[in-house]
Structure formats: C-alpha cells, structure tokens
Symmetry: C2
Subunit: 120 residues, 2 copies
DNA sequence: CGCCTATATTGACATTCTTCGATATAGCTG
DNA sequence: CAGCTATATCGAAGAATGTCAATATAGGCG
C-alpha cells in the first residue's frame, strides 16, 4: 500500500482515494441482499406471479401443476417466501390458499427503487 | 389429483384451478433471477454504491480498503458484476478503474419495475 | 533487465442452496 | 375409527457460492 496522508489533497502518489466509504452500511446492504436473494430464483418469481394473478385462490397443488418441480420443493419455496413476509396463506379445510402480501411487496419495491436511485 | 373437466365452471370438487399458468415464462424468470442473484450480495451492493459515488475513479485497492473482504474476493465480485454487464473497467497503468454501466443498471431497473408492476 | 506493485486467476475448503424421496401431520369423509 | 388427500417436514445428496492463501500476470521504475 502506498503511503499517503489523509489530509493531503494530492490525487495520489499511487491510486487510492482517501478512505472511501460506502453510503450503504453493511446492515442495510445485508438486509436488502437477503430480500433480493429471495426474489432471485425463477421458481419463486413464478410463484409470486401466479399468486398475484389469482389472488387468494391458489393452493399448493395448483402451483405444483404449474411448475416444473415436485410438491416438497414447492412447499419449500413457499416457506421461504412466507418467512420473508412476501406471501401468506390461509388454510381452508385440507387446502392451503396462498396469496401475496401486497404491502410487503410494495415496501420492498420502494426500498429497491431507493437503492437504484442512490446509484443514480 | 382430483378429477375435473377443463370446460366445467365448477369452482372445484377439490381445490385446483383449471391449469393455471405463470405469465412469466421460465426463460424470463431465469434471466431476471440471474440478475437479481448478482445484486443479492451485500458486498456487491456496496461495490455498486461505491462505484456510483465516485464514478470512474475507483480502483481495486480503494474497494479493498473500504470493504471487509480481501483483494481476491473483491476481484471475484468485480468479475461477476462485470460479467453481468453492470460495471466495466478501464486500465490506466497499473491500476484498474471501475465504474458502473448506467445504461445497464437503468435497463435492469426498468425490468424490475415492470415485474413488480405485474405483481400489482 | 530485475524488482516492485496492482490486479487477476487458481485451487482448496466451507457454507449455503436446491431438490426430492420418504414420512409426518392434519383435516375430510364414510 | 379407518382410510384418503393436501400439505409440511425431514434427511440426504448434489450443485452452487463465497472466501482466501498462493501464485500468475502485467505494467511501471530504476
């Protein structure tokens, strides 16, 4: 590492800017990346899409029929989406009807937009 | 699976809607989740933030100094971001100056928004 | 050329993710 | 209750990801 004083204005004897720091703190970055990680799976995106389309009327076997994975896998992804607060379900008799939690998705959308705007 | 006719209007002897299909096709979902997967890492989010802040003036050792990971890890994340088309770099002498590719990020933002709006 | 420095790549290792068969749970129906 | 069905959970196995030490590459300087 090249020697340089923090107070100096010199653009560099070498390269490095005087201790550059991210505006996003690690905790925020972590929280956001967790949510992005939930979205970052094709099956989960398709589940969200299906749920949004047929709000409150989609049971697990519908999803299983519409997606190229088996039932335990569908349940697994539903659990992740639920743990992330993006969806929820209501049991009616034998069936579990899943639906998107619009306010949560709206909040995530807002958070994402804010992040993108910060990259402006 | 419960027997049912596609043409019937009956809300179900059981649960399932007549063959529900995602509006997002698998290819689109896959492409989008790939990009989301790139964003879904705290270090990468912070890198994007740092690059956006100091456009065109950030070399790898700056990033290494600002982030809690070692140089090979920084290079690794830079490579992923670059492969995803989100950033690029210019070599000047010994140093590699990285910068965000604003048009690509803008396109991603648009794509993401469209997706969120589809969940409307 | 020989040395030094910034960055990239390689290889190994640990961790996490994804999937699915098998099984458990829960609620209906007879 | 017995049997059936929808969903959840468990456990195992493979794939993908993240990290870093070690090493390679490449460009500057004396």
């Amino acid at each position: 590492m090249i020697e340089r004083t923090e107070t100096s204005e010199t653009p560099a004897t070498g390269c490095c800017s005087p201790s550059l720091a991210p505006r996003i703190d690690a905790a925020t970055a972590h929280a956001l990346s967790d949510d992005l990680g939930i979205l970052a799976h094709p099956i989960r995106l398709q589940i969200l899409d299906l749920l949004a389309q047929h709000n409150g009327q989609v049971c697990v076997c519908d999803l299983e029929a519409a997606l190229p994975v088996k039932q335990p896998t569908v349940s697994h992804h539903l659990r992740l989406l639920r743990a992330a607060g993006m969806i929820d379900c209501e049991r009616r008799g034998l069936w579990a009807y899943y639906f998107v939690r619009r306010p949560a998705l709206e909040a995530l959308r807002t958070r994402l937009l804010a992040q993108f705007d910060a990259l402006r």
